[in-house]
């Protein structure tokens, strides 16, 4: 019908009609966007207000000495567990309880001692762990991560089995969070996930785990020896780092085996481990090892020799000073500078003018560094 009318109209009328239609559509879109943003702003303001309310509630519960917790919580329907639904829509109740969890976690960062214990207690009493556990059992990995983090941050150990299962989860974010959580909850004992993890543990994750362990009781993990045989190379690397951190001298032989691991990064980590865990033979073994490995591993060996080298290494180092690359030569000069006089090093390369020139420059740089840092 509309089409028929349109066809009968002349071109000018048709153009006016479409112009009006276009302006109408644009205006409608504009108004919808405007009112949606108003609604969203209103919602955000309401959430902000709820956050402030819960923050004040928490501060009162924590710092008011004579406050009766139950009396304070009366006005907050989401914590009333006796009434089904608590007179709130499910979504709203969930949101309000999440706000409380967020506020507790925010406050937790600032508290230690008795204050922190009070926060843990409150999380238990309000059964907020149930909300966190629901997230852990959700299929969305972002929610799982949130749930795991909340439970571990609030030191809630009841669901540790579910968290432990996630330490080898196919989704990387979940896996990372679960590994951190289990260590946060159980310290070195939590590291037993290393026996079953099949995915690579990234360098960053290894550093984070080591950092977490630094702030915990100084127990030693018992299974390092077994983890050094793991088929997962990242587990072997991490175990070497653990052996180093906990000064596991009894693992020297096992670390020695790792020097011949097929993975070059494992070899490098094993070499670096020998900086702290060594015996009287380590220096000579490293000198022999140096001759059969790649440049990357050689640089690691020289790094260790900086602390281990004695006069026994001097002849060997002079031999490689003439033939090696610039980077390696600099490391060798640095080691030799600690063992002999600078003039002797220069004499050793007397017959090679180019090398001699670079050695002189290196010695100058090393001495300047010494002056600068001492």
């Amino acid at each position: 019908m509309l089409l028929l009318i349109l066809v009968r109209w002349d071109l000018e009328a048709q153009l006016i009609f479409f112009a009006i239609l276009f302006i109408g559509a644009v205006s409608a879109i504009f108004f919808i966007a405007y009112f949606s943003s108003l609604l969203m702003q209103k919602k955000e303001d309401a959430i902000l207000e709820k956050r402030d309310e819960r923050e004040s509630l928490l501060l009162t519960i924590l710092f008011e000495e004579n406050s009766e917790k139950d009396d304070l919580l009366v006005g907050f329907k989401e914590f009333n567990i006796d009434v089904k639904g608590n007179g709130l829509r499910k979504g709203k109740r969930k949101m309000l309880r999440q706000i409380m969890i967020d506020e507790i976690l925010k406050m937790k960062k600032n508290l230690s001692g008795a204050g922190l214990e009070d926060l843990y207690k409150l999380y238990e009493e309000l059964r907020l762990y149930k909300d966190s556990y629901k997230k852990l059992t959700n299929n969305h990995f972002q929610l799982m991560v949130m749930g795991i983090r909340e439970l571990s941050e609030m030191n809630h150990k009841v669901y540790y089995r579910s968290i432990y299962r996630c330490t080898n989860h196919v989704q990387e974010d979940v896996r990372i969070e679960a590994q951190l959580a289990i260590v946060r909850l159980f310290g070195v004992k939590g590291l037993r996930f290393l026996s079953r993890v099949t995915y690579t543990i990234s360098e960053w994750q290894q550093m984070t785990l080591l950092y977490l362990l630094t702030n915990m009781k100084n127990e030693r993990p018992v299974d390092i020896e077994r983890w050094l045989d793991s088929k997962n190379d990242s587990v072997v690397i991490f175990s070497l780092r653990l052996a180093d951190k906990y000064n596991c001298f009894e693992l020297l032989e096992k670390i020695g085996h790792c020097l011949y691991h097929p993975n070059e990064t494992v070899k490098i980590q094993a070499v670096l481990c020998l900086k702290n865990i060594y015996n009287e033979n380590t220096e000579l073994e490293l000198l022999a090892y140096y001759q059969v490995v790649s440049k990357r591993v050689q640089i690691a060996v020289l790094e260790v020799l900086k602390s281990l080298a004695t006069q026994d290494s001097v002849f060997f180092l002079y031999k490689y000073l003439v033939s090696c690359e610039l980077e390696i030569r600099f490391s060798i000069v640095r080691i030799l500078n600690g063992l002999c006089e600078g003039i002797d090093i220069i004499r050793a390369v007397e017959k090679e003018p180019e090398i001699k020139e670079s050695v002189i420059q290196m010695l100058e740089q090393i001495n300047n560094e010494k002056l600068q840092y001492n």
Partner: protein, 145 residues
């Protein structure tokens, strides 16, 4: 928390940067840029019966110290915008020549800054996260010293 007085920053006209709550005689200035920490410290000390002046950054703390009489004790964070806690300590000791007790708040791993603060004249330090009981006892100890 009832704020009885809103301080207006002269240059920037920033309101509510400094909140002033009177409880009783002893006046404590807290300079801390992390709002939650500032609130928690203030609440605890107010419950202990002190008058608390909140400064939300180093600039506001410096401004307060310049325009008002020295408080009875200062608690200052080390890392803050505009002026650091170290500069606040320096101002109190060198410019104002005051001997009031100063506690610095430091995060884990800021030992060097704490040492620097002691050299400048700070009396004690508290690491974050802090224990409310420890905070109270340290403040009490400094007032009794």
């Amino acid at each position: 928390m009832a704020y009885l007085d809103n301080y207006v920053n002269g240059n920037n006209n920033k309101q509510n940067l400094l909140n002033h709550t009177k409880i009783n005689g002893m006046k404590i200035l807290i300079a801390e840029d992390e709002k939650m920490t500032l609130k928690m410290l203030s609440m605890k000390l107010q419950k202990d019966g002190y008058e608390v002046i909140q400064a939300e950054d180093g600039g506001v703390a410096m401004d307060y110290l310049e325009k008002n009489a020295c408080p009875d004790l200062v608690i200052t964070d080390i890392m803050m915008p505009f002026y650091s806690g170290l500069e606040v300590v320096e101002k109190i000791r060198k410019d104002l020549k005051s001997k009031i007790p100063i506690i610095v708040l430091s995060a884990m791993g800021q030992e060097d800054s704490v040492e620097e603060a002691f050299k400048l004249g700070a009396d004690d330090y508290i690491t974050k996260p802090f224990s409310p009981i420890e905070l109270s006892s340290r403040v009490k100890r400094l007032f009794n010293a």
